[in-house]
Symmetry: C2
Subunit: 419 residues, 2 copies
């Protein structure tokens, strides 16, 4: 394997104003979707994540601040561009286009406003592989890159023309179901197989959070899942790969003490209090809602025209709701949360650690939930773990004591390790 | 030792509307001052906290939400009363009395508005011991209790009349300096000695955060310090004590990338922008400022009378400052942060993970700082670790998946473990 690593293209690339060194070793950045730090804590304490435990001892383990809203598309876009949402243009999975009032699913790269590190690395001669669990992320973020890109969701359908690789099932195994832990493990197994076969030396491996939505950190199902992830990470490290790992967002139980979902139906509340015409966009909404019912801790209120002068009054009403923790007008939200101003609404709302925002009861099919609701999207899922498999150099050790972001992970993995 | 535990008074007590079972075993609740979860992560990963690692495996380890502002007095008062600041009355170490405009250090129990679990347990016949590092906490929170109470700061001065114990130095060792790790280790050693001598069976042991203000989690000084704490916790558990441990607040680097303090001088800013008469109260201020220069991530603005109608304009100006993350008028702050309404100011301000609020440069002697500034007070130091040394019963395991608070620690330790 180390022979293979000698052939890596070196030099450096510049992406969105940041410079990234291309080291002689293969590198892999992993986004463990929905990885609240507690999952790592339990796995390591149980002795069932020996490889990440060793990374914590011999490399770096810390906490990083993600982008808000703490959703998957937003943070994956930040990680691959090394930039905040105001730069890459994605403020959620979903937005209401103010130009025409249409609600738009942002599952296409046409919404992306910044180039990716993956594209630049492939242009610079690296053998880039981008493997995701959900196919939607691939369509969104593989723009401009050459190399290999496929999802575990559609592994069996991969073609040379579309994905830069065929016969994935022969290399890695049978395509797993998307609502499973295997959908994530398969992504890491793919990374291991691609490196082992000499097909990739610059990898982005992005998992799915079905397991974290479904199981608490100390459930045996979670521990076994993380054990499997850890084993694959261990294989990458053993092959000489520099590994960086972080998460897009954390995960918290969103329930009352009896285990029932703790939901504030914000559009219902505003309609009952003020009248028709209010839209509440929940940017967690995507085609995969079985495990969270499209309920998250971040909502965007669009006011009807006649209420534009009464924004302050509407904000006060939202503040009065138990479980609401932050209410920001667009101007402040755009500046403080680094959001694209033209793709958000009039009022941004975040809810507490155990509270989610809904639209109306009719918008959410809670009967699909198979376990007590766990979700994300707000301030309490902003902080995520951050690992680099090798010791940090002095400059990055200093930086690690400040406000590092999850979208610094390529920077730390490429520029931050000791040579 | 277990013989001794058989003599514990049982039954139950009610404090501030919550019921606490008095188990037959001795119990100890520990507040590890300034214990960001990263300190535990490093210690456990290094294999140097074997006892808390075992607690994580065999008992419970999770994250709890502290009270805001994330300061020592506020959260210690919450822990011993099992209640939020609006109940116990302490919104900081320091407040401006609106009745007379005086700035008041809240180091006296006369400011406490709620009874403590310690007082109730001692009335119910438990042998209560309350040991702190800083003497100020003792004066604030030992009201109404009989039993033993002393600080490591003044261990050598303890008398039967005042502290319920004399000759502490003979029992535990020489009084340590307050600006040291030993000031905290001594508190735990005291707990071990008191249980071993049969002098206490219901303990609250509250440490100091000098080490966390001074050293990052991966500094050898931190690791050694936590190793020592862990050893004492191991001794308590070995003696049959049920141990609960949490923190009052977390801790973050508050620096620019070059390591210099990242400070917003809020009173200076408001005075320059609007004129004289603004007071900014920093409720971290206390007599022990050497390690943080009285700089924290929470500030309280008192408006001059003539500005009461221009509050919205002042809030907008504060929002414009880079590094400010939350700006709340009193009414909302009181409701959302559960603060006592008569002991806070007109506008509440919180700053980011690596940013602190100052008053004016003249109010803060940065020359006293011996290391890059680390501090707390805001939202990013609200989440803290939470340990219970024995397995949780089913009811509390369910509760642990929700929004548990650090001031639920007596509840979990007394009511939450399997019998």
């Amino acid at each position: 394997m180390l022979e293979q690593s000698k052939t890596c293209a070196t030099g450096s690339i510049e992406v969105n104003g940041r410079e990234y060194r291309l080291p002689a070793s293969p590198i892999a950045v992993i986004c463990i979707d929905g990885c609240a730090d507690e999952y790592i804590d339990v796995g390591i304490s149980m002795g069932r994540m020996p490889h990440l435990a060793r990374v914590a001892r011999e490399g770096f383990r810390g906490m990083a601040r993600g982008a808000l809203p703490s959703f998957t598309n937003v943070n994956n876009a930040s990680i691959v561009t090394g930039a905040a949402p105001c730069v890459h243009g994605l403020p959620g999975n979903f937005f209401l286009n103010p130009e025409n009032g249409e609600e738009v699913m942002m599952n296409s790269s046409k919404y992306l406003r910044a180039g990716t590190i993956l594209a630049a690395a492939s242009l610079a001669g690296r053998k880039v592989a981008f493997v995701t669990a959900k196919n939607k992320l691939l369509e969104l973020l593989s723009i401009g890159m050459s190399g290999i890109s496929f999802s575990s969701e559609k592994a069996g359908e991969a073609t040379i023309e579309k994905n830069g690789i065929a016969n994935v099932e022969e290399l890695v195994g049978k395509t797993p179901p998307i609502y499973s832990g295997d959908a994530s493990v398969y992504v890491l197994k793919s990374g291991v197989s691609l490196v082992a076969a000499g097909l990739a030396d610059f990898l982005y491996l992005s998992l799915t959070d079905f397991m974290q939505h479904t199981y608490a950190p100390d459930a045996e199902e979670s521990i076994r899942f993380y054990e499997e992830l850890d084993a694959e990470i261990g294989k990458l490290i053993a092959m000489g790969v520099i590994v960086g790992a972080t998460a897009d967002h954390g995960m918290n139980g969103k329930t009352h003490e009896d285990g029932s979902p703790h939901v504030i139906y914000l559009e219902t509340f505003l309609t009952e209090k003020f009248g028709d015409g209010f839209s509440v966009i929940l940017p967690i909404t995507d085609p995969y809602v079985k495990h969270h019912g499209a309920l998250g801790s971040f909502g965007v209120v669009h006011l009807p025209e006649k209420y534009e002068d009464r924004k302050e009054e509407v904000m006060q009403a939202i503040w009065s709701l138990d479980g609401v923790t932050e209410v920001l007008p667009r101007s402040i939200a755009v500046s403080k949360l680094e959001l694209p101003a033209d793709r958000t609404g009039d009022i941004i709302v975040m809810s507490g650690r155990n509270v989610v925002l809904g639209r109306t009861p009719g918008h959410h099919d809670l009967s699909q939930l198979e376990a007590p609701l766990r979700s994300h999207g707000g301030r309490y899922e902003e902080m995520v773990p951050f690992f680099v498999s090798r010791p940090l150099n002095e400059k990055y050790r200093q930086r690690s004591m400040g406000d590092i972001r999850n979208f610094d992970i390529f920077d730390f993995t490429l520029n931050g390790v000791q040579n």
